[in-house]
């Protein structure tokens, strides 16, 4: 059952076995697994419930409805970094491209060796990956619906002999409408909204949308209730909800989870809540071609260049609607329109970099969330190198010019001009970056002095408090994290069923 804030006009009090805060990759998955095991589950989701044909191509309307702060949150630090985070039923899985990668073996080993995480090695994780892939229908999409921009990326990478792989995505009969970042109107993308949440609902879970958890009731080191309020109502007449529960699972993502814990002063004996935030900083360039690409047709991100994965660089393309693209062009007036006339001949390329330095999440004036991150020299160099690689691939695919996000070097017209990127003195504050993957702000580990939760997402301090989102990652993973979160959630659900109920 799904209950929205608009349906409620009185304060509510209910009791349950499990209260899950958040319905994204981690929350939706763990709620589904636990309700399937016969437990009574309540999900509180801060964002609205939007489904199927309610998704559309109006960028402004959709971003405002589905993204946290309408996609305008940013990170404080030496570079301009925009945060993109879903805030709706299904969380960021509703607005991502649905790329499904298993966690790299090197990352799992590192988590086992460095953080002492139990049962995390590839052999242990195999059944969980399999289960997740089956649930969300991970497969390659048919060749006919692959977008021309993906084919150009492939052409460029192959011309340079770079390793390029077709992505597997969580989809059933994707029709290439390329509306992934604004929600899939055909429901082909198997986001949590159409995969795990219906499963949970079918098994008796109740989801409250537009309902923000504010207080975690702590009674002698045990969580006894969660309080929240229905957020879309008038401030003066907001109904409240109190959920008495045996276990709480926080799955609000790497910013909201630590914020909630910090606000409630909980589970922070290690002092590590909000620390070790990794963001996978991403940079984009715009390649312009002679022929039409029409990036808004065909499935997005069908290929990724894996050649530089060992160096922590993942290259791909992505469709960006004209509203967002125009905001990143360095022009205005006549010139802007002139460039935007080439919109159908533009290909937006992006590079994701595995960061070597961590940021933090904290509270400013005990009220405002503050995400801080400093781009270090090593990552600056990596980002410049990634930009050069993107330009190289674009020219190899036949681009006539590449528009860069740097003031000193705005445009390249030929491959021979790539060294200009390194000759200019580009400082961190010149970068315009974006982050889609926030990780690690409540990291797991066996040592209670250096981590927030144990190997299964259970708080070291409070036995009936669990975390199930990217915030428990001990390190960045260098690829899209959705499947990793869901595999860990599946594994942690098993632990809760066997040990905590």
């Amino acid at each position: 059952m799904i209950i929205d804030s608009g349906d409620v006009n009185e304060d509510i009090e209910i009791s349950t076995d499990i209260c899950v805060l958040g319905s994204g990759a981690g929350g939706g998955c763990i709620a589904s697994e636990l309700s399937e095991a016969g437990l009574q589950v309540v999900i509180l989701e801060e964002g609205p419930y939007v489904y199927g044909s309610q998704f559309n191509s109006d960028t402004l309307h959709s971003i405002r409805r589905l993204y946290r702060d309408g996609g305008t949150s940013f990170i404080y630090g030496n570079a301009k970094i925009i945060i993109t985070e879903g805030k709706c039923v299904g969380g960021s899985t509703v607005i991502n491209s649905g790329i499904c990668h298993r966690t790299p073996v090197k990352v799992l080993k590192r988590w086992n060796w460095e953080a002492g995480i139990e049962n995390i090695l590839p052999d242990h994780m195999e059944p969980y990956f399999q289960k997740v892939e089956e649930r969300i229908h991970v497969s390659e999409e048919p060749q006919e619906i692959i977008g021309k921009d993906s084919l150009f990326l492939k052409k460029g990478a192959e011309a340079l002999n770079y390793k390029i792989l077709q992505n597997k995505r969580n989809q059933i009969a994707c029709c290439g409408c390329n509306n992934c970042m604004l929600g899939c109107p055909s429901s082909a993308k198997q986001s949590t909204l159409v995969s795990y949440i219906p499963r949970a609902i079918k098994n008796g879970a109740t989801l409250f949308s537009n309902c923000k958890a504010t207080t975690i009731g702590n009674n002698n080191g045990t969580i006894s209730y969660i309080e929240g309020s229905f957020s879309s109502q008038n401030k003066s007449a907001r109904s409240k909800i109190r959920v008495k529960c045996k276990n709480v699972i926080i799955a609000g993502g790497a910013i909201q989870t630590p914020l909630l814990l910090l606000q409630n002063r909980l589970a922070n004996s290690s002092g590590m809540i909000g620390k070790n935030l990794y963001i996978h900083p991403s940079i984009k360039v715009i390649a312009v071609f002679d022929e039409e690409i029409v990036g808004w047709k065909g499935s997005p991100q069908s290929y990724q260049v894996h050649e530089f994965l060992d160096e922590g660089i993942l290259l791909s393309i992505n469709f960006v609607p004209p509203e967002v693209l125009s905001a990143s062009l360095p022009y205005f007036g006549d010139r802007l329109l002139e460039e935007m006339r080439n919109y159908n001949r533009m290909m937006v390329m992006g590079a994701l970099v595995e960061d070597s330095h961590a940021g933090s999440v904290s509270m400013m004036l005990s009220r405002f969330p503050m995400v801080s991150y400093t781009l270090n020299q090593q990552d600056v160099r990596k980002l410049l190198y990634a930009t050069a690689l993107l330009a190289e691939i674009a020219f190899a695919a036949g681009a006539i010019k590449v528009i860069l996000p740097f003031r000193e070097v705005e445009v390249l017209h030929a491959q021979s001009e790539i060294p200009k990127i390194f000759q200019a003195t580009i400082k961190p504050h010149e970068f315009e970056l974006i982050t889609f993957h926030l990780m690690g702000s409540c990291r797991m580990g066996q040592n209670p002095r250096t981590s927030v939760v144990n190997s299964y997402g259970q708080s070291h301090d409070i036995q009936n408090l669990f975390i199930s989102d990217t915030s428990i990652f001990p390190s960045p993973i260098g690829i899209n994290p959705m499947v990793t979160v869901q595999a860990l959630a599946t594994r942690n659900a098993e632990y809760i069923i066997n040990n905590c109920m």
């Binding site: 349906d7 006009n9 209910i14 191509s57 402004l60 405002r64 047709k297």
Partner: protein
């Protein structure tokens, strides 16, 4: 979400900025479009955190009065269009980082609103609505009957209205009752599971 509105003073500054940012020597832009763009900027701003909204208001005031300290010795909104364009150009290329950042923020916000106008979509030949309709139609032909049936059952399960028995608002006891019933219907009542369509495979 409560809608954010600029004051009349802020709107005047914003319109002056928009005029400079989207000027086109070939096309005369009607006041209707400016209203549409301002309305869209307000929509963008309404989802911003309160602190960012305050920051935006301060930026508008900064731009308005920065002109007084320039060679023009005039408020931004009172400058002729050509001077305003030049003013933004100078801000854009300034060696002072804050000025550049302000210019980027304003450009980002105004261009996003501008390119959201339907005539602009036509101008750049961007037709996503038709493409969406065609793609969804194509998908309905691609999937098997069994899959279509499964999706219908899932969609039924996810329909909120069915649980409310045509009530528009739920009271405390309604929610508690429905909540308990949802759990019981799946767990306790014999054979109850069969009444719910097989939703997701």
């Amino acid at each position: 979400m409560e809608k954010f509105h600029f004051s009349r003073h802020h709107k005047k500054i914003l319109q002056a900025i928009i005029e400079a940012l989207i000027y086109n020597s070939d096309v005369t832009i009607s006041s209707y479009f400016f209203d549409q763009i301002i309305e869209r900027v307000e929509r963008c701003s309404s989802s911003m955190p309160q602190i960012t909204q305050m920051g935006l208001s301060i930026i508008l005031i900064f731009v308005e009065y920065a002109g007084i300290f320039s060679r023009e010795f005039s408020r931004f909104s009172r400058m002729p269009l050509s001077v305003r364009i030049q003013f933004i150009n100078v801000m854009d290329k300034s060696s002072f980082r804050v000025k550049r950042d302000i210019s980027r923020i304003l450009k980002g916000l105004c261009h996003t609103a501008y390119l959201n106008l339907p005539p602009l979509w036509e101008y750049i030949d961007y037709r996503p609505r038709e493409h969406l309709e065609n793609s969804i139609e194509l998908r309905s032909r691609m999937i098997s009957k069994e899959q279509m049936q499964r999706e219908r059952e899932r969609d039924y399960l996810m329909t909120r209205e069915k649980v409310y028995n045509n009530q528009t608002l739920l009271r405390k006891e309604d929610v508690t009752g429905l909540y308990n019933a949802a759990y019981r219907s799946n767990r306790s009542m014999p054979g109850a599971k069969n009444r719910i369509p097989e939703a997701v495979k």
